[in-house]
Amino acid sequence: MAALYEGYTLCGLAPAQNQSNSGVLGVEAERDSDHVVVTDSTRSVTLYKVSDQKPLSSWTVKQGQTLTCSAVYNPQTKEYVAVSDGKVIRIWKQEHLLLDQAFKATVSADVWRVHCVAGGEPVVLFKRGAVRLLDALLSAPQQPIEEVLAQEESIRWSTNIVTESQQFAIFTTEQKGDHFLYLQRLNPNTLQRYRLEREEPGLSPLSFSASYRDKHIRLLYLYPNGHVYQSVVSERGLVTDEGGQAFPLPRSLLLSLPVGEGLLEAASAQALDEAHIAVVGVPHPSAGSGKDFLCIWNTNFQTLQAGKEIAGKIYGQLWSFWNKLFIPHGKTLSVIPYECPKSSLASALGKMRQVKTEGELEQICSTATTFDTAPVEEVQREVDLLLSRTDIQDLQPSLGQLASTLVSRTLQDPAFYTPSSLAQLVHTRCLCHSVCPDLVLLALERKDYFLCQLCLQFFPDIPEAITCACLKAFISLEPDGVSFMETLIARERGPDGLLNGFSPTSAAEYRSDGLGGGGTRAQQDEEMTSPPPEQICPVGLHKAVLLNEVLQTAYSDSFLLPHLKDLSSQQVVLFLQYLQFLYLKYSQDAFPQTHGLRSPSLSQILDWVCVLLDAHFTVLVMTPEAKGLLVNLHSFVKSQVRLVSELGKIEGSLQELNKMTAKKDVGQYSIEIIELF
């Protein structure tokens, strides 16, 4: 379990008059885990020893000048770098007492930030998006600086990441409500531009945080609606022409934080390690709607690991260095130590598994990216590849994500449809209705009845409304609809032969209405010498199979009833005829089992008859075509009731017989024979 420890105050703050900003420009790491450099938003830079809560040195710019970016420490040269008034870069060492006596250089464009992390060189990011290494810049301070960003585009956030082989400057921008991610590689310089997916209109990310792990850069961002997304970009990335169009940036929803009333205003999320994020300014799920909390969440299990109430206004600023969180709140800057051990379930399952799951996620994410753009064949290939894995069950959540990506693309793009991929995904039994709620309706819309059937068979949680929609569609299926389906089936039938009882023999045997063609009907008439009229199946085999599937879904009477009322009286009569046919068959012999069909049980049939009569009784009474059906049903039920009561009597007598033999009364005296062996 991650834990937050007792915090302490590092220093007091002088927040702005309107309290909108904390007065802290930035907190940066210094030489070791116990030193930080705090830059306030006015004129001073202070070096603190954290454990002593004590300032060691402080530097101030002259009155009239302001610091425009937080000071950073370059551990290689043991120098501090800061920028004042946008264009003046200042570099000094700890022994310099006065900032004015230190090195100064004026550059030709406004600087956004200077970044420096251990192992990398200091990087200067200009407001218009240009990036320079500090050394290169200082060699010719007045060198021209190009404009990278568009006219109305401006930087919102930036950072600097050093990997084994590369140094990156990463920044996000906003342009007319669109957000972009820039990935600037240094030496050799390349730039990639990604477009962030839009959240609800008007919502901009509140905070970003980037981390590098397993050759991927992970960007974590929090929206005011509490959604925390993660986007993963490969370190290598695609080599593209500069200034080209922006790629869509795939994202995955890591967490959906509770936001309480309204949207989040000042909040920040920071990745702590691969499984934990720290969030400030978000309500504690069990403490009402107050947003003054610092929480650690586990993203793997979506669990809250630790929470702490933070006194005073929260500015949505949060830094973390060396297992310490730095939070400005109210009029103080607090240090809160934390700990994130490997979560217990994960460690119980073994580290390997967790590492592997990370790998899976990447693959899924890249697959999902493919799904957004790739043609049908490629999607099919990707799905095949994915499903050929042996550990498919472990990927359940990701498969759901894939399926919903596919469904959403299909919904958007009328030309795109991958029936076999979807069928394959459904067949893994890893999906359910709640994971991709649009799938069944999509299948109905595209008249993919085979997929509908699979969904009905494998989804345990189809709502009654959808079940009824399927039923309606199946009953009113026109012959050409069925033939469409048949061709579909013929195409899709895999090497394992039949799916769901569509065997050619049974198809020939029970086709009795016009759908299958007159020939088979004649054939059947020949086979059955004198079939009673009610024994002719009122629907074709394929339709029957689909209806059987509906009969076997789980439902609740009270939810089903209102939707059943949507059926027309013709549909009801046909369905009732079919149910009656099934019931008669059942009460005569073991017919359904003989053909390997997935067949509904007797009680399921009776339940449907009841609920159907319930929903449409008045309509049926008024419908002349239904009269014969109802009369038949009544007489049959009557005879069945009589039969059951007779059976009851027999059972009673037999039970008495049983009692008589079982009861062995030992009286006061008996003479018995026993045998010992």
Binding site: G667, Q668, S670, I671, E672, I673, I674, E675, L676, F677
Partner: protein, 687 residues
């Protein structure tokens, strides 16, 4: 192996009396138990809980309390008398009138330095009377201050200077020196309707730290501080009465028995880890009784309880014993460990012994044969020939019927009676002139030819009487050489009339040669008490079964253990055999199969075939069902010597008649339960 025709008899209406009081002697590990009819029983807890001795009851003797003083046993009762018992001759030694009305309780100091042990009783008239226990009697010493209201319970403080007395609505503490009451602790009455009823302090315990614990009729167990006389804690354990209390010797655990049949345990535990601030905490509840728990003993390892439902229950405390051992198993003792049924095997008669009468029954008859498992049609029903009421106040202690069915004898602690029976005409004649030496007997036995009567008498001796028409004549008295004074509880006369074997509660087994009228041999003494003995009719081997379930066979000719016995001891008995918790109460032989020994306990009867291999540790002991399912040739491979039959349960008696049919007398416990008075009403779910 063979078929048996079994007379399954269920008309013996044996009804044990309720348990009233118990006292445990920690030094000798003997439990004394008093029943409602005045009978006393001594159980040896060190010897598999064997019921060693029974002192029959007496009309009007209602024992309310028992107490051990050293090896001496005292009782007090509602008849106002204190009785000391003679545990060697199994009779009251003397009785002292306390002159205080009914006595409710008796208590003796556990340890005394002076040698003169004070013992006191609490009386109906509100006095606590102190008696001095002298060597051969007790002597009234003095009264403590007389109180209003009866004294129900008493307990000495271990220092012997204070006594706590439970009364109506209160507890008093007396200073023994001055005889004055020093404290009066008021006990709260029950709530509701019982508010108007006096609360009875049924039981009381006085611990060495001056804590007083009381159990009362309002269902409370209360902990008092005896120094200040203040109530420390109240535990409401039942809606009915708390009737009995018992504290473990180290005073760390306490049990309370209630009218609901539950026993509640309290332990002196600390709520914190450092062991400070100990408190009496209610820990466990045992429900082993259907009726009032009247008597309780907390031994070192177990809770022993008894009450209205007549069963003695030993419930081991699982924190004190090793788990899954024989010691950790619960025991319920429902039947006496001796036979109350006598069978005339030649005449097919059964004699049932009750405390106040004898019943003589003739077994029924059937003709024809049947297959195993069948019930044969009963041609002639069994009939009760005679119901013989005893004379005098004393209850019957033993009885016997001669094998021919012509003689019937019974004895009480004060008198002996012999009757001549004519079965054809159903007439009974008392033999009037009896020898003087035949005044009372612990055990009776007729010789096979019905010409001799053997009666065990004082000091382990056996009186031999010749039975002739119309009188009987004293022949001689057989005495063991050991000079033991313990009573003989088992007698067996051999078929050929040559041997008489006796066993006494000192575990001695003697064999007398009746031809030479002298002691033939003494079987090496084994550490456990014999529970059944028999001499083989042809080989003259003596079979002895002990309370610890061991079986020995001793050759009277060679005066040594037989080869089979040695083999049995070498290999050891099967663990399931040793784990049985009721003793073998009878051993007999099958004349048709000389190698067969038939014996039974309460839950099974067993035929031991000495010609078959003994069961090994891994062999299934109860294998009859398996053998039945196997084809004949396969059975031989799976057979072993112990053929155990559990078809019949709650056995009082299994005998082999001369026509080779078995008589099995069952007394289902359910039948006993159904004759008990209704238990206290308890709210059950959905009633």
């Amino acid at each position: 192996m063979g078929e048996f025709k079994v007379h399954r008899v269920r008309f013996f209406d044996y009804m044990p009396a309720a348990i009233r009081a118990m006292a445990f002697n920690r030094r000798t590990e003997r439990l004394a138990l008093a029943r409602a009819d005045g009978a006393l029983e001594i159980f040896n807890f060190a010897d598999n809980y064997f019921q060693e001795k029974v002192i029959p009851g007496q009309d009007g003797r209602a024992v309310e309390a028992l107490c051990w003083v050293g090896r001496r046993l005292f009782s007090a009762g509602l008849n106002g008398e204190i009785t000391e018992y003679d545990l060697e001759n199994l009779r009251p030694r003397y009785t002292v009138e306390a002159y205080g009305g009914p006595i409710w309780t008796i208590s003796a100091v556990a340890y005394s330095l002076s040698g003169c042990v004070p013992c006191q009783v609490g009386c109906e008239d509100g006095t606590v009377k102190m008696f001095e226990v002298l060597e051969d009697r007790i002597q009234f010493q003095r009264n403590l201050d007389r109180q209003k209201g009866r004294i129900i319970s008493l307990c000495w403080h271990p220092s012997a200077s204070l006594i706590a007395a439970g009364m109506m609505d209160m507890i008093r503490i007396f200073d023994v020196e001055t005889g004055r009451a020093t404290h009066r602790l008021l006990v709260e009455r029950g709530v509701g309707a019982s508010k108007s009823k006096e609360v009875v302090v049924w039981s009381i315990a006085f611990l060495s730290d001056h804590t007083i614990i009381s159990g009362d009729s309002a269902g409370k167990v209360q902990i008092w501080d005896g120094l200040t006389g203040t109530l420390a804690r109240t535990h409401l354990v039942t809606k009915w009465d708390v009737l009995a209390l018992s504290v473990s010797q180290d005073e760390s655990s306490l049990v309370a028995g209630t009218s609901e049949g539950t026993v509640v345990q309290f332990q002196f535990l600390s709520s914190t880890l450092d062991g400070q601030n100990k408190d009496w905490v209610r820990t466990r509840t045992f429900k082993n009784h259907s009726h009032d728990v009247r008597a309780l003993v907390h031994t070192e390892t177990a809770v022993v309880s008894g009450g209205m439902d007549t069963q003695l229950v030993v419930r081991p405390l699982l924190d004190k014993v090793e788990k899954n051992t024989q010691e950790s198993a619960m025991r319920k003792m429902a039947f006496p460990h001796r036979s109350l049924v006598c069978c005339a095997k030649k005449a097919g008669l059964l004699l049932f012994q009750f405390p106040d009468h004898l019943e003589l029954w003739r077994l029924g008859e059937s003709d024809g044969h049947g297959n195993p498992g069948d019930s044969l049609p009963v041609k002639r029903k069994p009939e009760k020939l005679i119901q013989l009421k005893r004379k005098g106040e004393d209850h019957i202690c033993c009885s016997a019927l001669s094998p021919c069915g012509g003689w019937l004898a019974y004895s009480t602690v004060t008198s002996f009676r012999l009757y001549r029976l004519q079965n054809n005409t159903i007439s009974i004649t008392k033999v009037s002139k009896l020898p003087k030496d035949l005044r009372s007997a612990h055990q009776l036995c007729f010789s096979t030819d019905s010409s001799r009567l053997f009666a065990s008498s004082i000091n382990s001796s056996v009186v031999v009487v010749a039975l002739n028409q119309p009188e009987c004549k004293y022949l001689h008295t057989l005495k063991p050489k050991s000079g033991s004074r313990e009573p003989v509880h088992l007698l067996f006369a051999s078929e050929d009339g040559k041997w008489l074997a006796t066993a006494n509660t000192a575990c001695e087994v003697q064999v007398y040669n009746l031809d030479k009228i002298k002691l033939h041999c003494t079987v090496p003494v084994y550490g456990s008490c014999p529970t059944a003995i028999a001499i083989h009719p042809t080989s003259s081997n003596l079979v002895v079964v002990h309370a610890d379930q061991q079986i020995f066979e001793y050759s009277l000719v060679q005066k040594e253990y037989t080869e089979w016995s040695r083999r049995l001891q070498k290999q050891g008995l099967h663990s399931l055999w040793l784990e049985r918790d009721t003793p073998i109460t009878h051993v007999t032989f099958n004349p048709k199969h000389p190698a067969h020994i038939i014996l039974h306990d309460m839950f099974m009867f067993c035929v031991i075939d000495q010609s078959l291999p003994l069961p090994e540790a891994k062999t299934r002991l109860f294998n009859q069902m398996i053998l039945r399912s196997l084809p004949e040739p396969m059975r031989i491979l799976h057979r072993h010597a112990f053929k155990m039959c559990k078809t019949f349960q709650n056995l009082m008696c299994v005998r082999l008649l001369e026509d080779h049919s078995l008589v099995v007398v069952e007394r289902p416990l359910l039948d006993i339960m159904s004759q008990l008075p209704a238990p206290v009403r308890q709210k059950r779910f959905a009633t």
